[in-house]
Structure formats: C-alpha cells, structure tokens
Amino acid sequence: MSSIKSTIISQIEQVAEEQKVKLPPLTDELVLLDSGLDSLGFAILVARLEDTLGFDPFTASDDVYFPVTLGDFIGVYENAAKTLEAAS
C-alpha cells in the first residue's frame, strides 16, 4: 500500500471514530457517500490530510472534482503528490 493510501485510510478511521460511525470495509470500490461519514466528516478529512500530507488537491485546483469512490479519492491525492514532486 502506498504511504498516501495508508495515511488516507488511517485518517478516515480516525474521523469515523470521532463521529462514532461504523465503517464498511474500505475497498477501492467503496462509494464515499456509503462510508457513513457525512459532509462535515469529509470536510474534516480533507483538512486533516492537508496537515499530514501538506496539500489539498481540491482547493489547489478548480478542475479537480470531488470523486465518487475511495479508489478515485486516493488517486486524486496520489496524482497531486506526483505533480508536486515533479514541480519541485
């Protein structure tokens, strides 16, 4: 598992614990809205990931839409990390 993926998974688990939400298995195919987290939960997740990973790919670009599945969500972060790496 990539380090970005494991970071995202552990942050989702952390937010779910705080919101007292029981998560389904976190597969790539999971539709984010079926995870049980609400909109505030995802808002918190994006803020936490910005602190741990150092970027928020959604706010950084107007062209990035919020994805539907967990796999796509992780992909958005991995792509943003590659772009940042290439630019540095």
Binding site: L33, S39, D51, D62
Partner: protein, 469 residues
C-alpha cells in the same frame, strides 16, 4: 396587547389544502387534518398567553406546534437542533419562558420546572379550535453569538412571511423540499411557503444519510428544493441526485459561487436556479435568478423596492418589513452589535461586498465570522472553550477553505509551557483539547485540525491579529 398585523398561522393555511401534506422521514400528516384538529390533546388552552419554548425532538412536532400556537402563545422560542443542553437555561431565562412543548420523551432537564408542560404528538385529533382575541405572537429564532450564548432574534409571523408571494393560480402542483432543518431561518421559510401556499413539504431529518433523503425527495416528487451551496455540493456527489428532477433549485445561507451555479445548471438543465440572500436577522433580502454569482448593482439604492439596501464600509445593509425587530436580552448592553437595527432601521449584515463592473460580489464576512456549510461560527466562542484547557495559554481560531463545506474551522494554540525535546505531549494535548471542544460545542464548531504554535501575533491593543476576508 398589540393588534395583530396578520391572521394567525392556522387561519392562513390554504383551506383547500386537502391534498397537501407534511412529509417527515417516517410519517405523513395532512394539512387539512390540522386545520380541523389539534395535536395537543386538550392542552392548547393552558398555553394561551404563555412564553413557550419548543423543545421537541423532531421537526414535525415543531411544525405542528407552530401552526397551533401562533396567535395562542405570547412568544414561541424555536430551539435549533444543536443547541447545547447547558444553553437552554439561558434561553428560557432570557425569553421569560413559562411553558415548554416537548415530545413523547418529556422535556429536557432545564425545562422541567416550567409552569406548563405540554406534549405535542403527530397524532391529530379532530377539534373545533377557535381563536378569540389572538396574540401578536413573537417568534424567537436563535443564531450563534460570540460568547457562546446564542443571540435571540425576535420575529413575527408578518416579518417571516413578508417575502412570500402567492402561487399563481393554474400553475403546476408544487412540492417543496429543503436540506435545511426547519428550526433554522432557511428551513422555516420553506415550511411557511408550503403551508401558506397549500403545497406539500418534505422535511429533512438530521439522522438521514443524503442518499436516503434524495431518494425520499424523488419518491415524493419534489419540484422546489432549497439548501446551502454546501448542501448542493454534497448532494451532487451522490448518485441519488438523479432521483430528483426539480423545476426550481435554490441556494442560500452561503456565498453561491459560479462553480456550484454552473454545476447545478449542468446537472438539472430543466430547472430554474436561483440564489437568495437571507439571514435570521435581515430576513429575505433578495433573489438572483440570472445564473450568475453576485447580484446586479442596480439592486442597491433603488427607489420603491420592497427591500432597501445600501453598502456602508463595504458591508451590506438591509431594511425591509422582513427584518427581525430586535434581539432579546441584549437591550441593556452597549457597543457594536448590541442593537439589531441601526438608527435608520437597517440591519448591518456583516457580509462584505465588492463592486466589479455592474455587479456586486460577496467577498467574505467582517469580524472573522466563519461560515461552515451555512452555519455561522464565531471564532471567539471556540477560543473560549479551547482556553479552558489548563495547559493552553491562548488560541486563535481561523477559517480554512474547504471543498465541501466552503470553509472549516482550524485552531492555532499556544501552550503555557513550551514542549521540551524529550517531553513532547503535543499529540496527547491536541486530543485532550479536541475532547473539551467536542464536549461543549456542536460538531461544526469543533476544529478540524489543531496546530501547536510557539506564539501568536498580538496587536499593541492586546487584541490578536485576525486576518479577515
């Protein structure tokens, strides 16, 4: 007793509303039954002339109580769903409440000593309710305040319904829905539109996932649907957003940016899309239906308009019959923000606008107020809670841009003792501080992230440097 400016709500319900319903998640209540019945058993008389706090657990019973008690009670206090239990006592004292309406589970602890305890039940019993000598009932709505105590805003049915136009006869049937809770201004407007227009209304439910809510809205055939830009951003992520085909989509409560307006236009090409400016204090200001963010400059200072608007020091000020009358419990205090209306009767909205070409655009809020998905957050309130932690010297709560809720709350915290190299309790302290916040604040006010910082900038006046929008 002042003369009522409008008929009581019960008498305003469209009498032909036989085919109209209130639809919460798990029930269906015919408006016509309510016109000819009561949900209070025989207890309605005991509430006459009282100051009544509505502490019901759900929106439906609040809706029923409002319909029955307008004109009967002297004052009705609507408690938002996230009112912390320890603030109910303040609300009761400030509104000089002497009666409570609760659900089947009984009233909350702070209301148990009130003189009249009534239960409102969704089971409506036929009754001939006559309203002799109706009161000009005050409707008290709560909004977030800087000190943690809510601001209590005084409306009447007349001010709350002044923006509502009758539905044109012969138009296709309307079913209203909203993502708002109807105990807040945005949701209450839709409830009143529905009952005055004799149309059905699909109520939201706090515990219901968005996908279930959308599916339910689809099943009920919703035609007019309202929410904040954040609600809509969240809804459009959901495959169930295809379950509805609204004729009218409305956004309010936050800045509607061009991105969300365009996304809605693309998603619901057949729908009219409007964004409205409204707040609990200012009432409904205006609606913009041209699909563009901001609003035409010609709306400012136009003579003879239903709503007078002006811009003072960059902030939008609004005067109309839709604004609230005053705050409860703040009359005696002085200083900025104590009075709801300025000397000329305008509400200072605190929303900062900027003129570009022939249009005004919203750029943020004065005073650092943060808008989390349509809910106002005063940084000072959260800082006061964080500062309760014994290891915290000071804290600064800030807004951070967020792709879902528009903004989210984060905090910088200075500790009393700097963490030493071998003794870093930062992670543990952050957890403890968050726990203090979770114990005392509604979820949207709990910081998403806490940073331990060595110091904060402080002005010579002793005030912290806030970077305003």
């Amino acid at each position: 007793m002042p003369q009522r400016r409008s008929k009581p709500l019960r008498k305003l319900i469209n009498a032909e509303a036989s085919g109209s319903f209130l639809w919460p998640a798990d029930a269906s209540v015919a408006l016509g039954d309510l016109v000819r019945g009561t949900s209070f058993g025989g207890a309605l008389g005991a509430l006459a002339g009282r100051s009544v706090v509505l502490a019901t657990p759900d929106q439906l019973t609040t809706a029923l109580a409002l319909i029955e008690l307008d004109g009967v009670a002297r004052r009705l206090v609507l408690c938002p769903p996230d009112l912390p239990a320890d603030q109910l006592g303040y609300v009761i004292a400030t509104a000089q409440t002497d009666a409570v309406v609760a659900g089947a589970g009984g009233p909350p602890a702070a209301a148990r000593d009130l003189a009249v305890q009534a239960t409102c039940s969704p089971a409506i019993v036929p009754a001939d309710v006559t309203l002799a000598d109706p009161h000009d009932t005050e409707w008290i709505m709560l909004t977030s305040g800087t000190t943690g105590a809510p601001k209590m805003v005084v409306h009447t049915l007349a001010s709350l319904t002044a923006a509502i136009k009758p539905i044109a006869s012969g138009s296709a049937p309307v079913v209203w829905g909203t993502f708002y809770d109807m105990r807040r201004y945005g949701g209450l407007q839709i409830f009143l539109r529905a009952v005055l227009g004799g149309t059905s209304f699909v109520l939201s439910s706090a515990s219901e996932p968005m996908s279930d809510h959308l599916a339910r809205l689809g099943l009920r055939g919703v035609t007019h649907l309202t929410g904040t830009p954040s609600h809509w951003r969240w809804a459009l992520l959901n495959p169930s957003a295809r379950a509805i085909s609204p004729r009218y989509v409305r956004l309010s409560g936050e800045i509607a940016d061009q991105a969300i307006l365009d996304a809605l236009r693309e998603f619901y090409p057949a729908a009219g899309i409007g964004h409205a400016y409204a707040s609990t204090e200012a009432g409904v200001g205006f609606e913009v239906n041209d699909g563009r963010e901001g609003f035409p400059a010609s709306m400012i200072g136009s003579e003879g308009a239903a709503v007078d608007m002006k811009v003072v020091d960059g902030s939008l000020r609004i005067r109309s019959v839709r604004t609230a009358a005053h705050y409860l419990g703040r009359e005696a205090s002085a200083g900025p923000g104590a009075a709801l209306l300025d000397a000329d009767g305008f509400v200072d909205t605190g929303d900062i606008v900027e003129l570009r070409g022939d249009r005004y655009y919203f750029v943020g809020r004065r005073g650092g107020i943060i808008n989390v998905g349509g809910l106002k957050v005063h940084p000072e309130e959260i800082e006061a809670v964080i500062n309760r932690h014994p290891d915290v010297q000071m804290s600064l709560v800030k807004s951070r841009k967020n792709p879902i809720t528009g903004a989210i709350v984060v905090a910088d915290v200075v500790l009393r003792t700097q963490p030493g190299d071998g003794n870093d309790r930062s992670a543990e302290l952050k957890r403890e501080i968050l726990q203090v916040c979770r114990d005392r604040l509604p979820q949207h006010k709990v910081p998403a992230a806490i940073r331990i910082v060595p110091s904060l900038d402080v002005f010579a006046t002793g005030k912290m440097t806030r970077h305003h929008a």
